[in-house]
Symmetry: C2
Subunit: 678 residues, 2 copies
């Protein structure tokens, strides 16, 4: 018994350890693959074609890493022999190969998704949120989804599309969580327990995406998980840390993850800079609202029009447009460089001609990124949203940062800037603005709060910039909330019609259960069973005529006191197995849900069918006078799917999760039927 208890206690830890390691390993493979394929767009390592550029050059010359002095790495223009002869020709070859490879990668990605795992497309976070709220989507976290999503993620990112890896990595981690939980019966056989593992896995996903274990845990807590029991906090943290550790061990070149936005300057910021930071926050909030509206409208159009029938064409068009427009601009041509460049110091502020050119390129990159991201999120390849959102913010932030730098430099003697520019240092750190901008846009799009700020800390290592980051994130959230309180994930949940009861929104109306329950006054009475007077035939007829998932059982038609609740599935299995296995059970056998079958059944009559063991004797009930506020709270906190409504012990009706969602939509003056349930 002691061994069993210990095994029980440790199985959770072992399970999250396995999930963390698997997630780290998948992330490492994905990273290596992505980096190789991204470089393939530019050239190839002739001797060892499986090396990416960095490894190729390292292999040749292992003391210094010089991008130019690398004899083994052949760019495509060089391979085709036009490298020396013509600058224009060389550029065109590069351009064409870049677009071509992008198209190849994108085609492969969308084909694989279409053929093998339709669930592998998109971000996955809306679906995982829904799953964690108690809804089951069969196959969504299966092994095929896992494999295809991993492969297609590499392809999609390498294709240079405006998408990131964090959402898909969360999905991949959740798949690992789902698969490993079957090794431990305690978790595999209990959906509620399994969701604890999935919460931890989601934390690991963000952890490997950004090298931010604490941020990952908070993301899982704040954004993904519906109900996050505190005892899983530590396990999630452990899982996230294991994943980050494995990733770092497997992929020594991949430490750009941990420092993707790393700021190694410790320059102070000044109070007057809060003004541009808040401006960035406003930009982030507005952009978030615009993005959500635009993206949802485009996705709805895709669903309702013919466009939805040509997903492959759509992906190819988006890829072609992205590749053709992205290549000429240094700020958009490369997935990795884009971000790191946009945050680190790269230009000395006082040379004016370079600055003007950079500003133009940045402005073009910003517009391009903004437009293309709206159309990219939702195409049928794995697509995360963090990186493009942050890139947009970083570009905007860098522009404002360069502007501030120019302003401060040219008004060096002004009393506002005097302190900033003393002692010949750079006056302003544009990289800090990029970081703040990234935080603001990501906040506007996802409506994350604390987890966002913590992820930014861990991403940048800039613990001293808490106030700028907070100010921007908070402004972004407030401005965004003024337009619409929904984040992009909630908007997509609603778009797809998943039965998700938001646990953040407050229910403040004064309606009571009697207003919401069915049957309404004009509807036919509730479909119920009696505990000891219905025949097998009658029950079968009821099951044929209705499609409810379960039926309340009452004392008798005259005395409608509630006895229990029986699930349709259990009932149909029990009746059909009784019919086949017991000769005595015929159509007019009486079904008993009671404990004692009366002895005075008709002698020679049909054998009674005892079904007490499938009866749920403890259904959750409320009275008809219960305020809906309380009912909604019970649904959220107890994870209910339905509750029975009684008055003085008599059964009156039923309220399901869908009834509540419909009621909330009605109260918001939305058309309740616009909420599709699939």
């Amino acid at each position: 018994a002691k061994v069993k208890v210990a095994h029980d206690a440790w199985s959770g830890w072992v399970c999250v350890l396995l999930v963390g390691c698997a997630t780290g390993a998948f992330a490492a493979v994905i990273d290596v693959g992505t980096s190789w394929m991204s470089d393939l767009k530019e050239g190839i390592c002739l001797e060892q074609f499986w090396f990416n550029r960095e490894q190729c050059c390292w292999a040749v010359n292992d003391t210094t890493f010089d991008q130019n002095a690398c004899s083994q790495w052949y760019s495509w223009s060089h391979l085709f022999g036009v490298s020396e002869s013509s600058v224009f020709g060389s550029y065109m070859i590069k351009y064409i190969m870049y677009v071509l490879w992008a198209m190849v990668f994108a085609t492969l990605a969308v084909m694989l998704v279409r053929v093998f795992a339709p669930y592998a497309c998109g971000s996955g976070i809306p679906e995982i949120k829904t799953i964690l709220s108690g809804f089951i989507i069969r196959g969504y976290l299966g092994k095929w989804t896992l494999i295809i999503k991993s492969v297609c993620m590499m392809l999609a990112v390498s294709a240079g599309l405006s998408l990131g890896k964090e959402g898909p990595l969360v999905h991949v981690a959740s798949c690992c969580g789902n698969i490993f939980s079957y090794l431990f019966p305690k978790y595999g056989k209990n959906e509620a327990k399994k969701r604890e593992i999935l919460s931890a896995a989601a934390a690991a996903g963000v952890s490997v995406a950004f090298g931010a274990p604490i941020g990952g845990v908070l993301f899982s807590l704040e954004e993904v998980s519906y109900y996050f029991p505190l005892k899983t906090l530590w396990r999630s943290f452990f899982c996230a840390l294991a994943a980050a550790f494995v990733l770092r061990s497997f992929n020594p070149f991949g430490n750009d993850h941990l420092v993707m936005f790393y700021v190694d300057y410790r320059n102070a910021w000044y109070l007057v800079e809060l003004i541009p930071f808040i401006v960035l926050g406003v930009f982030g909030g507005i952009w978030g609202a615009v993005f959500i509206k635009g993206n949802i409208r485009w996705c709805r159009y895709r669903k309702s029009s013919n466009l939805g029938k040509f997903p492959i064409t759509e992906v190819l068009v988006v890829t072609a447009v992205t590749a053709i427009l992205a290549f000429p601009n240094p700020y958009t041509s490369d997935y990795q460089r884009n971000l790191t460049d946009a945050t680190t110091d790269f230009t000395s502020a006082n040379i004016d001609s370079g600055v003007t050119r950079a500003m133009w390129q940045l402005a073009l990159a910003l517009v391009f990124k903004m437009v293309i991201t709206v159309f990219t999120f939702g195409i049928k390849v794995p697509a995360g949203l963090f990186i493009p959102s942050m890139a947009i913010g970083a570009i905007a932030g860098r522009m404002i940062g360069i502007g501030m730098e120019q302003l401060a430099y040219s008004h060096r003697e002004h009393y506002l800037f005097k302190e900033m520019c003393h002692s010949g240092h750079t006056c302003v750190t544009p990289g800090l603005y990029a970081m703040v901008g990234a935080c603001a846009t990501l906040g506007g799009v996802t409506k994350m709060t604390v987890s966002l700020v913590v992820i930014m800390f861990e991403l940048t290592g800039g613990l001293q910039y808490i106030v700028p980051l907070m100010a921007a994130a908070m402004t972004a959230k407030w401005i965004g909330d003024a337009f619409d309180k929904e984040g992009i994930y909630d908007a997509h949940i609603k778009l797809n019609g998943y039965p998700f009861l938001d646990s953040k929104e407050e229910f403040t109306h004064t309606t009571i259960a009697a207003d919401v329950m069915r049957p309404k006054r004009t509807e036919p009475p509730l479909c119920v069973l009696t505990q000891d007077s219905m025949t097998v035939e009658q029950i079968e007829a009821i099951m044929r005529e209705t499609d409810h998932n379960g039926f309340p059982v009452i004392v008798s038609a005259e005395s409608q006191y509630l006895v229990g609740f029986v699930l349709r599935r259990d009932l149909s299995i029990a009746i059909s197995s009784a019919r086949t296995n017991h000769d005595g059970i015929v159509s007019n056998s009486v079904v008993y849900f009671t404990n004692h079958v009366p002895v005075n059944t008709v002698v020679g009559g049909p054998e009674p069918l005892k079904l007490r063991k499938i009866l749920d004797m403890a259904p959750v009930t409320i009275t008809d006078q219960t305020p809906m506020e309380t009912v909604v709270e019970m649904f959220r906190k107890l994870g209910l799917r339905q509750t029975l409504v009684t008055h003085n012990g008599r059964l009156l009706g039923i309220i399901t999760k869908k009834d509540i969602l419909r009621h909330i939509a009605q109260l918001k003056n939305q058309d309740p039927d616009s909420i599709l349930f699939n």
Copy 2:
């Protein structure tokens, strides 16, 4: 209406902003006061006696701060004129003054607590946990408690007792939260809403104690709050940040808060060092278990013996012992220096004689701290536990660190240490060991997890030491849990018999509601009211004879279907007001809880009393077959105080929170009556 909605939405933000600012201001005052009084033990600033030493010396010489060249600061030995004449005399004067001032401060503190606010003693966190779980302790968060706790906290810390400020600061912050919530009716009038403000306030308390806003939020989430709705996450963060910001603005000298343990080295750690880190974790876990056992046993002895009658004497004895033993040892004589010294690099490792002396002093300090802390936590002054716990760990960590340093230095060529000692740097960073040790002991004592690691990050700024900190914290928790799963706060909650239903512990037994509910089979039937057949007199008799907090109302004595639940308080107010204000209401008036009073009441008979409006028509009910696991979950998540038990709509009994606590104690083979409820 729009204004009202906006006001409603903003009132929460304004309230937490005020709470944050007030907490920051209180913390600033407490810091300044503590620093002044602590320095008073050593000397005085003659010109401006209200300056502490640092300010005194700054005022004299504002370009450099040199401890010796400060003419305005007079040490007591100097004032008494024995400074030059005799080294021994000077030392004795210093010693006596140190002890004397400590006694004065401690006496003042305990007197103020005794006379003005008995609730101001202790840490406050167990009580706040209980309050946040739904229990009400009147006056615990009042203004007198706030003022006295603030003053006495300064006195107690200045007295040099082995206690810290974080628990009392959480209490002070919660008092601010409680007081400010009355400015906003939405929060002041609704206990559940007020608890949201209190959760945010608790975060602010930790934030000002350590300058760790994120850690504060996580502490509130993980340790203090019973139910932490996610929408308050952001507000708590805002509150914590506001508090930290105000503290820093008010108290420019007090930035030692933010860097109390600051490590500015970035030395790498090596995999082999994980062994001593895990040893520290084991030490932390064992120490936590020993401390909790010892402290609880001592507190129980205090409660049950005569000792409890002499709180003032106890405080004086503890203070005298602490002061007399602490003064000679440089590691224990000063509150601030102790900690910072214990983590920063201070001794060059290769000088052997100094090391031996330091080791001896550290060992003595460790033993002294360990013993005195057990007796200090629980005396009748405000007392926090974080700082002493961390100090113990930091001392132990530094000892192991110095040991490792010696080992590595003397075996420089050994393959294990070769990498560590290359290129003439110090081989080992003892400060890092101190930090890890502090983390381990605090983890062992409080059983905190993620919040602990985050607080350590924010305290030390060492984001790269996540793995050492995690390893130590996790080992400490696992080892500690092997002894007892309770943290010190939970142990004190149980000691004081607060009705607190732990939300972390899993309830795994297979009992059902019928086993727990009252009345048991042998007990008299449940005390109920009927909806339309009892007279005023009968109800008054029932209320006289019983002391239940409320009564279920049923249809009639023959048909025991549940109608609703009425609170004793409402009932007694309603009846007595009816008796005084309505002449028609006499002893044999019939009380009606129904909607319609039948018209065929006896003509000329007494006027009926209608009490439907005080009837709760939506009491939470469960069936007698409900598994207790589900019942416990409902109590925790819905914050219930009681639930009614029915069978087929008929009322069978009632389960209160105390019944559940008693049941859990029984299942654990504890004597259920040992759980006192006061």
